[in-house]
Subunit: 399 residues, 4 copies
């Protein structure tokens, strides 16, 4: 590969750019995970993650990926042959559905067009029909990384409650948590699932479950075989700040720093920052004359923007051109969106100037790849960001 000067722009929708503070925190000698010093670290991150998840209930931390955390949520709460209701919001919902089938669950998929969030009404309707309570869990992706569409989890909870159905609510907030608001307890989420490499700004390697009392109760009778993912032993050891098997110690060093950074900035500021980047990005996309995948404004992702290519144009060739000419990685279109969309990640440790560098890379890539578009996307983003920056600083000063 050609020599590349300067920093690579990693603008996929996760892993996000890991800040130096976190990399340096991880770059420390591994400690004895059975020693007294470790217990402090363990308690700190376990407690800190509760604040990020907005829950009073326990959070479980696995050495593993988000995919592992999906599996953990399923095997701890369900038994072979249990029926689960899932919503086809995009590729990650589809993969989770595939996993549920592999694990021996009976799955029902509410189909979707990959441009909308989960249909709370449809969920409510289906549960109403399930008088025998055969459906044991409703599985929803809060924030679809493949499409840039958010689902309204509070609405899903209301839909469930309105039917009086006892199904558990399992929610994947892998690309949402730490970037957009997520209220585990307030929204009645029974298992919230995330991982380290999105809003938590870390490298991949940790998976998380936030577990409600109801989910914990369910785990006592859930019959799917489990050992590594078992909550019971985890919680037993976590109580004293330890883990039943070797934790990914240096990742936990990073997590501790990540939590500090999120709380230093303030979660509400983090969310507002992401919202602003997202609006700027959509203004750029509109100025280019292109279309975002997400159709409903209230569902637009603040973490990434999936952009539809003009008819007949290859998204993957555009991404290649951008990587080759401008050293920026963008997200590919997945599954049925393959080669049809590209995804711009604007999450994590990120600021105005890096966003504008990112959008400039897209605008130049469109030009270099000969994709029909209008100029002026970056200009539109500049105009919006400059104007809103003044407002942001004014508020900060007032605060």
């Amino acid at each position: 590969m050609t020599y590349r000067s300067g920093r690579h722009f990693l603008q996929i929708p996760g892993p996000s750019n890991v800040p130096d503070r976190i990399l340096r925190a991880m770059d420390q000698p591994t400690m004895d995970h059975r020693g007294p010093e470790f217990a402090e670290l363990g308690k700190t991150v376990l407690y800190g993650m509760k604040r990020i998840f907005k829950t009073e209930n326990p959070v479980i931390i696995y050495p593993g990926s988000g995919t592992g955390a999906w599996e953990a949520a399923l095997v701890n709460t369900l038994s072979a042959g249990d029926r689960v209701l899932m919503c086809e919001t995009g590729q990650f919902a589809t993969l989770w559905h595939g996993m549920a089938n592999k694990l021996g669950l009976e799955t029902e998929l509410i189909e979707g067009d990959w441009r909308h969030g989960a249909d709370a009404d449809a969920i409510g309707r289906r549960l109403s029909e399930d008088a025998g309570h055969e459906i044991k869990a409703v599985c929803v992706v809060h924030h679809e990384t493949s499409t840039g569409v958010t689902s309204d989890i509070a609405a899903v909870r209301r839909a469930i409650d309105s039917t009086g159905h006892p199904a558990l609510l399992l929610v994947d907030t892998i690309s949402g948590l730490g970037s957009v608001d997520f209220r585990t307890d307030e929204w009645g989420v029974d298992v919230a699932i995330t991982c380290s490499q999105k809003g938590l700004m870390m490298p991949p390697g940790l998976g998380f479950n936030a577990v409600s009392a109801k989910a914990l109760e369910a785990s006592k009778t859930a019959g799917l075989p489990r050992s590594y993912w078992g909550w019971d032993e985890m919680l037993q050891h976590n109580a004293k700040g330890y883990f039943p098997y070797s934790p990914a110690t240096n990742m936990l060093y990073g997590l501790k720093e990540a939590i500090v950074m999120l709380l230093e900035e303030g979660l509400d500021n983090v969310f507002a920052r992401h919202a602003r980047f997202s609006e700027a990005t959509r203004r750029a996309v509109r100025a280019w004359g292109l279309e975002v995948v997400s159709l409903v404004p209230s569902e637009h992702s603040n973490v990434l923007t999936a952009v539809l290519m003009p008819e007949g144009e290859s998204a993957d060739r555009l991404r290649e051109v951008i990587l080759e000419h401008f050293d920026m990685s963008l997200g590919t279109g997945l599954n049925k969106l393959q080669d049809r969309v590209f995804r711009i990640g604007h999450l994590g440790d990120f600021n105005d100037l890096t966003l504008l560098g990112t959008l400039a890379g897209v605008e130049m890539g469109l030009a270099c790849a000969g994709v029909p578009h209008n100029k002026g996307g970056v200009q539109a983003a500049i105009d919006y960001l400059a104007e809103s920056a003044v407002a942001v600083r004014t508020e900060e000063r007032a605060a």
Copy 2:
């Protein structure tokens, strides 16, 4: 905690001390694990691990711990109710046995006294009796981290072969690989299991399976539910250097460096170095008038030395005194050895002077804690190391 000057001595039997080269290799921006640059990294570590495992067959790398790699070995090769034969060599064999039960397997445990390796003859006898081939797998811990006893895997293979029994041979070499010789293919190991934080000199966070053709064949019909640990999707993606879900990218950066370091030193030199440290440690233990747990010289661990306390003396108090006074972590006695033994790790990125610092810490700890012992352990180790150092350098110069 009191301020501590200088480096902590992490002399537990893993995690071992992570060398700066590896920590610094991990301290790099996370890359796009779907991009072209990643494929080179993926292929490099996947191929490199074959050299460490001494196998021509595929190696699987999981974001996870060694415990996860155990689970992977079981769920990929076995079905609910399958019978597995296990050997009680110590605490880790016991834990693996517990996991097998949790996962719904029928387990048979050949009892042991925790001071010997697996009994190959007993395995052979049991398999001979199993005319119906109900036993689907023999599970052996190559190197028992809880006792410092090695099992003779080649002998176990011969015992199995002598009976013509088709059981798979699953071997935990978690604390062995990369420190003592392990020959996956030559010894006919069907699944070899390890993790990152021992001989590979990394922080915890990666689990590994080296998988024989026979094990792979078994996985096609194995019925235990699995998704995260499934070999099939892994191998499909690994073929091009990728992974089916987010790999622990920065850990892979470290793994790449770890493999380079092991091959730079030369595996045989690595093994010889560990053997020399182990001999020096045992000489120190003998000079103190104490006893090592391992009873058979050919089974003595080169990775750690588990030492029995004199009757009536608390190993855990000794460890506390050593941690408090000399900032060194030693391994605790586990389960039935609780408070009866302490374990000295002498593995990984380690040299003569650090070993002597370690042994000096033990000798001073024995004095400070008032444990009856003879002086002169460090002196015995010094005498042996000085003499053998001359021989080592002479060989190096000749080479």
Copy 3:
């Protein structure tokens, strides 16, 4: 200070952004600078710096700043009361002039307007008049960091040679070396001066002299008192790869990596990259309706662009607004340009997208600060960079 997400944009004209490779190379245990391993490091960096300076003569490396390297050039070659001819190209020429006076030299300053390079003809004329060869040295700043104006050193050398005057030619290429072409030997530079934090992409802390045979000869009789800066002892120790007093070892680790990076990219590619960034920046400035300080196109800096504010507008207030709103540091106007200009650094480890982020920060800052300007600067840069990127990659592929 308000919490800042993402990376700070350090777009002053040095220190430039230090790449991770260099920071991580420095982040290694300090070694014995009298031991055998050090000699290899010493030789490697001393030889490598010759390649960067394009000289066959020795390069001296000091723990110190560029200011120290100025002093070294003067005290090694001159005696109290010696006359030196200097050119007022900007603030750094002025500072060097002040230093010469402090050290007891007689200085003559050819005045300048801070918008042009050194006047080779004027130098030639002055030397012609100096029949008695009282002028011992001509001191020129190759690349004025305060104005973004380059001086034609080859022309200065021709002017000197045309008079047959024996004066030494001392050149400050502090912000030039490693970013724009500099040919120590070909241009007959007697002492070339630089430091670590500009084109060498390192933190500040090292100063350099590249020393011609003629300068070395002069040092034998030069009478200014010196010890720390003395070339003689340095060269004596450097011959074996060592230094007469403690070198800044970890900085040398970084320097070794910096040299590797510059040679990996290829010096000509480095220069071309900087030229392209510079052209893009000037296009942006013109589009904003602003003026660059440098008046002669052939003298425009490729390292930084100094921009004149519209009459009555404060450059320092603009810089404050940009720092506060967009977390970017720009260079201040110095001395007579105080508050009249701001300087955009586009040097070092830098790429297209970061440049566009930088320019976007300026454009937004102009808006937020209410400075009269036209929009479209970033767009002009985008248009130029997109077009030229295609040409760059085409050439690379051909190569």
Copy 4:
């Protein structure tokens, strides 16, 4: 070179082993040294160094080595031809003496045998004779790195005061500060000199002057030419937290952390720790039947121990053997002690177990090199350290 596993033992008397906290603190993006954030850093380290020097007067920080800080002390306070009185305590006193001559000072050297500290009485006598006050400064090395002998600075001050002589007292505490007690103000030191790589636990690259009001007054009329080292401009900029030329920014990051670490441990604890290591080392030396260079117990260094070889044995060959066999660097004998002594550094970020590893390396080296000695040096150190460790922890608990 042969592959080396484990950490190198850098047991020269500086650079000392740089702790990870400091290396990681330095491994951060370089900031704008003219920006507002820098001023906080500048003030923090300038103030912090006052606490380490135990002074209310200003401390100057140079990008440079300790040798540069010597030069700074001389050129700021003296004029060409000024007479200075120096004491031949060892190689560094000799080098400083050479520097003073080079810079055009008239020097007088009180001869010494390199086994004693500065002779305060002799200084007093010489000053008494200097009725005309031709001697402008007395230069003493507080802690001779070449011999491991400390000079009693308070006694020197008393000797000067008893004569009523106005000479300045310039003191090199390069290897003393931060390891053994040094009281700049209480002892009436006019310029105290140090650098970064000894008790401050950093890599080389910073030099320091702590400057009394009297020295500052002297600098107003001192005539030696100076610019880089000039205190006046430094103090002017330091007042706001800035520096007149580029500071070694990343070294200052490290310095900030170093100061925090010293104050966290507590200076008195730091000094006590070094005293204990020193006593243990001397006990080992005595047990080997060898002799330390320092003859007067109250002058024994707590930072390093210089050991005399038995007659006819080469210290440098021993050092080579130890480096080759045990990967440890020891200090060489300098000048008239060349090949006659080796020096063991036991300073900086250092603990009991590393000291014992160090001493074990020496004892094994003596054996491997065939140097006549008695065994038991490490044992003697172990006995002392074990006993005193109990006392140390008991005190800590009481505190």
